[in-house]
Subunit: 798 residues, 2 copies
């Protein structure tokens, strides 16, 4: 392995001495603000000697990552201003907010958005006080932070977010500082491979800046403790051209960083020229920076004989006992004064004009870049008329169709109409989930090597818009970055493996909750649409590990203002739901729909009406004729609905006098009270569907207790009997799996017999038949490896 | 980047021509079995011409990954036998079971365990039929598969499982085949760094074998489509010495693989000698293999003009329509006969002796290695007496203690007594979670570079037994590998970020469920113990992103036979719970306990009694004196308990005539009926605690609806009023966060006033005081940044 590629270049001088002084001063101002945020309650400009009462009662916040974040920001500003670049900033290191808040304040953006944090002493005092202060802002780059689309509270997603933002933004540079702690996470470790999915002719640039400050909370980081040969090889292996900027001397590091950025910008221009002028379709070797700086850089070198700068001791508050310890108070004052605030801020506390002039202007400021408040750039999707893709259901329950296939056609034409603002994301499963019609308009993007045989059905293209990689984390990160920068997307995955991104779902829901409900200046972003397909009930050869419908349980724990869950029973309802979801903003829509062939129940017109209500009686499946029924049969989910309908068919044939009402639920939150969720049902609505005292057999797609969790407040809850998946399964035919979990037609009939008092004693024969049917079908499955045709090909007789 | 390091070596001849013939024949037998499993219902040895009725009705299973898996197995057998090695096998590629089942059958292990799958034609027929057949085994390396501790149903964990199994097993080699699809996942991408935590003096060897077969389900893989320079650099960067075995010609590849394995074994011996004889403490550059072979290797080259071998078309069943298509039937027969079964199996269908002789014997067979049925090697932990670590609680509710700190001391001495069979795992948070006493006995293992300053509080050591890396995935994978190979462990993490490993929890629970309930020959393994600390209620400076108590919701969806959830209210109950959990097997124990200072309520004797019941009345907090109370106040969780007790204190002071019963829940599943969970309560137990008709105010640590989900079947459920976390939070003082979610003492008092009919109309003053207390405390928090001393330092007055 050779020397670092820029070892020589970085020693050259890029900054004149004035420029160097200014950029260093701007950085000092940032660092001053970072320390002020963590420590000061008052006396923000140190215009009087620091006293105990100027210091916060409780010292919270994180110093360690901040100086390097501001350092990068300062240097990016230089080139943004010089070259009129369009750059957004992604702060990966945990608790990095001070390093971003400081620049946002110096650039004036913060005061524009929050006028009480004005650019003067009074505003600075408030700016300091609010940080990590109850009722105010935290130490992550939360939605309240202008210029941020990446909170970084949970680590690992900065780089995939950055790549998502760069897609289809050809002139945008996303500068992404990756923390070396974060770099140990799995999601981050694989996100480096995102460069195989970026087309330089069409997409923007991600400039990763790995900040090796050496420490996490209490440990060194792996990447800071391997040889420079290994480190360089790793990033060459990931497909980058790494530039090393390493050191601690301020002046020297300014020169190295400036020079390196100049070289890198030339690299990027050359890559763009190759792709955009010369038409090259090869994957370039994108530049990146390894920035090795001390943790807590520019902070106290040592306290009480312990190393602080360049140590894990700088991670949070480097020294805490300040109000009661005058020695520490003095250390703090000396530290803050080492930044020479009087040279940085004028008499009023405003950044001096020479430094102010270093920031770009208006939306060129990274803190005010519109891509980081993507809602303002968002244009509504041009959606084709979903009716054009409808399955023709001339008779309910007799046509078979893969539920997701028409959706694929709808998504295909959605893509066609929005060729630079819409993408589809899935882990190697677009075809498996029967969405492959999309390829007619756009294939899978692939910038890695191509082989001649890819021509034969590979569906790969340099300019594809379907994103497939076997990493749910990376896909979800790309999608989030794409949405938060103002575009639209659709993610689909195997239901069981959606749990891989549970925590990303949680964090995105929290981001949306705060943005929507507490941060007025953030414009609405497109909904995150998640299709869960290849569901629990059809894992005939994948078995137990592929059976988990619990992702929707997760969704019910997050803020009702941002969570939506739909379980369309057939292809047409899926179309209606998808059309709706693609129009929504500031929420996460989870849609559960299987890819296999299923009976079709609703015409497209019926689907529109049914989905608009989200829950409703299916009259053709009911025979209670608006009278009070003996029993309500309810269903939610495609397979659950089919089995419930089959049960009602048996009941109506064998017990014609039984008054049955059939209710189907598409919008899961209709099962909650309206007081709990905006899609909830009023008591009156709920009672009118489910009665107040009749038995309700509810056949559910997911874990049965989820329905109880939602509906427990309703009056007839005690008569609600829910069937669903109970972790009983292995390699099973569809019917066998249903039987094991008692969501099959035969067990549902028995459930009704058990719960309708007036039937008791008169139904022994039917009950016996059902038991025999169960045994007979299980035997058949175990002998033949398939279900009996009479079940597999069952159609609805009404 | 130079040439591949073994480019020359691999061209040498390692196998004599007889040996080559035999190893190839053994591999052909494996491939024959793989194809047979996928296609054949009968005529297993092709002793008669293949007819449609010999073929399965429904063709399920995956061919693509299998040949390379068996290829590796065959070659490992050669060196195991020659050098008497102790090797287990980890199959990472998805759906790789045929490639592992075949060898297990040829080695005789399969027939030993499942006598009906005997080593003859009849047994082989059953062996074929059962594969991917309803009610039988799947296409993953499930618990039913001898030699497996890694199912691979969900991808990404093979390498961390492998490293976990190698820890503290100095003579073990874990051969881990990593699929190139799987290699794209985040967890796998960072697991390569596990080599920084393996000490060659003490731990075993992981031999990663990256199988580049080029394709996933329908896409090429990233690592197969980058230049060989990048590929080599990547693994050099990860710290390995990569050996490349690339090709498709069978004879040539046998020679290359054999030669490469010989070189690698020499490398491993040299590493061991350096560490074990010469005492080197440097991290070695461990060898690994990049095995580039065609997907579906040895299968049909082409079908209907489309490439099959070496293409994604080989992923599952290469051609499906066989029963009704005589051309395909012929292709199948030719394909199977290409392996020359008559040369491999004798007249009875038994592998011929010359081939049989290639397998190692007894427990040296990878399919019978005891480490892969780790329960048989497991010895019970030697546990110190937990009473020795108890907090002295002379008066309940007046001592403050960090709840997890005594646990740290208990774990320290547990480690001391089990220095080769117990490890603690956490993402850079052992000290943060107050478990740092462990370092007195064993520090954090660190094989990456050390610096002089690490001496000052770094707590790092080459032979440490505390595993810290900022990757929950890797830690959990290590732990699972460690447990399944027969050892014991303890994992702790921030509560909110446990969701990062939700899907790993699900998969491990499924593994345990099947192992425990369906696979009799698997011996019991130690429980997976998960401590969730740094909980939702104490995120004063971390904010909203760190608030998520939903991991326990996840746990309640998995099989009751393997899930346990405990919420000890104080340090002594935590000790009792931890002691219990460390003694359990075949389950996952989730323990929720915060690290901050909390009031201590139970003496160690009381804790023993209380935890044994899992739920119970706290008499000193109650004044109903075994009479029927007016109201039941219940709590579950440390902070929840403190606030509930504070509420009862207010009520008893202000309304002495109110009859209160205080119930505390440690074992969450006590809130479920006994019919649903082995730890559940009978109706009588539940009613005797919660009454059948009195209001119950339940103050819960987690999402409130979880309690409804568990308890909805009980009689008094309709009077159960649960408070818990409702996604309301940001930067808040402890009391402020409690108030926002209404789990604070003041709101709980109001809850009681609202629900006890006989109080109504007489309590306006108290209600007003509570409202004022809420407003006053919020104002104080927002002014001072802390809670009022009277709340923060509150002690229990009874």
């Amino acid at each position: 392995m050779g020397k670092h590629p820029t070892a020589d270049a970085s020693q050259q001088t890029a900054l004149g001495s004035d420029e160097l002084q200014l950029i260093d001063a701007w950085w000092r101002a940032c660092n001053y603000l970072s320390v002020g945020m963590i420590y000061l309650l008052d006396n923000p400009l140190l215009r009087e000697p620091l006293k105990a009462e100027h210091v916060k009662y409780r010292l919270l916040g994180h110093w360690g990552a901040s100086p390097a974040l501001s350092f990068v920001w300062a240097h990016l500003n230089r080139v943004i201003k010089r070259d009129d670049l369009d750059v957004i900033y992604m702060a990966g290191p945990g608790h990095g907010a001070p390093g971003v808040l400081g620049p946002a304040y110096l650039e004036g953006t913060y005061s524009e958005i929050y006028p009480d944090k004005s650019e003067d002493a009074e505003g600075m005092q408030k700016f300091f006080k609010q940080f990590s202060f109850p009722g105010h802002i935290g130490s992550h780059v939360t939605p309240e932070t202008p210029g941020s689309i990446h909170e970084g509270g949970e680590l690992g997603y900065s780089l995939s977010h950055a790549y998502g933002a760069a897609l289809d933004n050809p002139d945008l540079i996303v500068a992404c500082v990756v923390g070396d702690g974060e770099a140990e996470t799995g999601p981050l470790a694989t996100a480096w491979h995102s460069n195989k999915f970026i087309n330089p002719a069409r997409d923007g640039t991600v400039l990763p800046i790995l900040n090796l400050n050496g420490y996490k909370i209490a440990n060194p980081t792996i990447l800071s403790r391997i040889s420079s040969e290994e480190l360089e090889a790793l990033f060459v292996g990931y497909g980058y051209k790494p530039y090393f900027v390493e050191g601690s001397d301020h002046a020297e590091m300014h020169q190295k960083m400036a020079r390196t950025l100049d070289v890198i910008l030339a690299d990027i221009r050359a890559i763009h020229e190759q792709a955009r002028v010369n038409g090259s379709t090869e994957r370039p070797r994108w530049p990146m920076i390894v920035l090795r700086t001390p943790k807590g850089w520019s902070g106290p070198k040592e306290i009480n004989g312990h190393k602080v700068e360049g140590s894990w001791r700088s991670h949070q508050v480097p020294f805490a006992d300040v109000r009661n310890n005058s020695a520490n108070l003095e250390v703090l004052e000396q530290w803050m004064r080492s930044y020479r605030p009087d040279e940085l801020f004028d008499a009023d506390g405003r950044l001096i004009p020479e430094l102010k002039a270093l920031s770009p202007e208006g939306a060129r400021r990274m803190s005010a870049n519109l891509h980081a408040n993507g809602g303002v750039l968002r244009r509504e999707l041009k959606l084709p008329d979903f009716r054009a893709y409808a399955v023709d259901v001339h008779h309910a329950g007799q046509v078979l169709q893969e539920n997701t296939r028409p959706l694929g056609e709808f998504l295909r034409d959605t893509m066609r109409a929005n060729m630079s603002t819409f993408r589809v994301f899935g882990p190697d499963e677009t075809a498996s989930n029967r969405l492959q019609s999309i390829y007619e308009v756009s294939k899978k993007v692939w910038m890695a090597d191509m082989l001649p045989e890819d021509e034969d059905g590979g569906e790969l293209a340099r300019d594809g818009r379907v994103m497939e990689m076997l990493s749910e984390h990376t896909l979800m990160g790309w999608l989030e970055g794409y949405l938060l920068s103002g575009r639209h997307g659709f993610f689909h995955t195997y239901e069981a493996f959606a749990h891989v991104v549970d925590s990303m779902f949680n964090q995105h829901a929290k981001w949306l909750d705060i943005s929507r409900n507490h941060v007025r200046w953030r414009a609405s972003v497109a909904a995150e649409n998640i299709l869960l397909s290849s569901t629990v009930w059809r894992q005939d050869h994948n078995g137990f590990s592929h059976q988990d419908p619990g992702f929707i349980d997760l969704a019910t724990n997050k803020s009702p203002s941002v969570t939506r869950v739909y379980l369309p029973p057939d292809a047409n309802t899926l179309l209606v739901v998808a059309d709706h979801c693609l129009r929504t903003t500031d929420c996460i829509n989870v849609i559960v729909a299987d890819k296999q062939k299923h009976l079709q129940f609703t015409t497209i017109d019926e689907a529109v009406v049914h989905c608009a209500k989200g829950i409703g009686v299916w009259r053709r499946a009911s025979n209670d004729e608006d009278d009070e029924p003996d029993v309500v049969m309810a269903s939610c989910g495609d397979v659950a609905t089919q089995e419930a309908l089959a049960a009602t068919a048996i009941l109506r044939e064998r017990l014609p006098e039984l008054k049955l009402r059939f209710v189907n639920v598409v919008d899961l939150f209709r099962m909650q009270p309206a007081s709990e969720h905006p899609h909830g049902s009023t008591e009156r609505e709920f009672d009118s569907l489910f009665t107040t005292d009749k038995p309700v057999i509810f056949n559910f797609h997911g874990y049965p207790w989820l329905i109880h969790k939602l509906a427990y407040r309703f009056r007839n809850h005690e008569n609600l009997h829910v069937r669903g998946y109970k972790e009983k399964g292995n390699i099973n035919t569809p019917l066998e799996l249903a039987i094991l979990n008692q969501v099959d037609r035969f067990n549902l009939v028995i459930d009704v017999l058990d719960r309708v008092p007036r039937l008791q004693g008169r139904t022994a024969h039917l009950r016996e038949d059902m038991k025999n049917a169960i045994i007979g079908n299980l035997n058949y499955a175990h002998t033949h490896g398939t279900d009996r045709a009479e079940v597999a090909d069952w159609v609805w007789p009404f």
